[in-house]
Symmetry: C2
Subunit: 222 residues, 2 copies
């Protein structure tokens, strides 16, 4: 029933446009009553994004199930991959929705609020992992935003290419770039990490103050 409503809705959205399709049109095509529609979807907008609530719940559960010694940045990258998996499960549907969302400002706003909820889920997890660290909430918010931006950069490239190519490889590459930018990240203050090794590779011409600043920054003392 739920799938039938989504199929009917998208057939109509593509045929006559999102704005000109009513919930009555959708239920008539699907052969069900209005109450059935609203049992599954609070509004017409929600039928465009039928799987985000489930995906958000999966993401939250995945983050909550993490171990104490998981690298936090890696964990949020893996959590972001759950979103990609949802899109990649059904490329045709995802590409159709991408085109629809670009054309309808209301859907764009809806999508922004969904993206915001994913970002908050990642940030809340990181805030927990970085609790007590200097700049813990700052680090959490910035890394969550970076992970979401990297994921969406790769996802949108894939959607723009009509779902051709390897979405997983593109997202892996993008998330790998974020992981390397933030490194393993200082989970504990520098003074508690006795086994750290700092390797400095510097061109001969670099001024000393710059080398010192980079070392301080790498040690989290900058």
């Amino acid at each position: 029933m739920r799938d039938a409503l989504v199929s009917a809705a998208f057939r109509l959205f593509l045929e006559r446009g999102y704005e000109r399709t009513t919930v009555d049109d959708i239920v008539a095509l699907a052969g069900v009553g209005r109450r059935s529609f609203f049992r599954y979807f609070p509004s017409k907008e929600d039928v465009v994004f039928p799987d985000h609530e489930r995906c958000l719940a999966d993401m939250t559960a995945f983050l909550a199930a993490g171990a104490e010694d998981d690298d936090p940045v890696r964990r949020v990258c893996d959590a972001a991959r759950l979103v990609l998996r949802m899109y990649a499960e059904n490329p045709t549907f995802s590409v159709q929705r991408y085109r629809l969302t670009k054309k309808v400002p209301g859907l764009r706003a809806y999508e922004l609020s969904v993206v915001w909820r994913y970002e908050r889920a990642l940030a809340e997890y990181l805030r927990g992992r970085y609790a007590g660290l200097r700049d813990g909430s700052l680090r959490a918010d910035v890394i969550a935003a970076a992970v979401v931006a990297a994921h969406n950069n790769a996802l949108r490239s894939w959607l723009r290419s009509h779902g051709r190519g390897d979405a997983n490889a593109a997202v892996d590459h993008a998330l790998g770039w974020v992981q390397s930018a933030f490194g393993a990240g200082p989970v504990r203050p520098a003074e508690e990490r006795p086994e750290d090794v700092v390797v400095v590779v510097s061109r001969r011409g670099a001024p000393l103050w710059r080398v010192v600043r980079e070392i301080e920054s790498a040690l989290g003392q900058g």
Copy 2:
């Protein structure tokens, strides 16, 4: 006239709530006609954020006026400070709006779309600066998101503290953290930057391949 409409609107929003205030109520209190309201603001939501359009225009102009040898990350951080300045100009108004926005879902959605536009302005600038670089658009999107997240982390702390404390110092600190995370950033390919400094922090027990990967990644060869 514009300021009078904003004052009247906020007085009513605070007294009777946003949802229960109509545009008619606002123009009656301000002593002007409906047409005057809509000359300045397309909708009731827009009166809540009266300065964002101007600030977006200022930001776009500021980025466009940048020199070829500006550090791109520093430039977008400076652009983000224009938003902070707008909030810090009128702390009482900014704190009132923050509380209002938290309570009204429609305003929260509006704010997300504004934040998205700032982020796109920063990302577009960075995409231009990183054009032709490997992962240029990825780098641009991630850094823009990180700058916005850092700015908003500091801004929200300040708003939550009722506008007490030094907003500029808080935002400087947050943006400084982002700048150190992304370094000066490889604006040109590594072989053309004779003064680059690369710092790799690694556990003593880390496998060699991982250290090598980090160095490659830092050099832009990963």
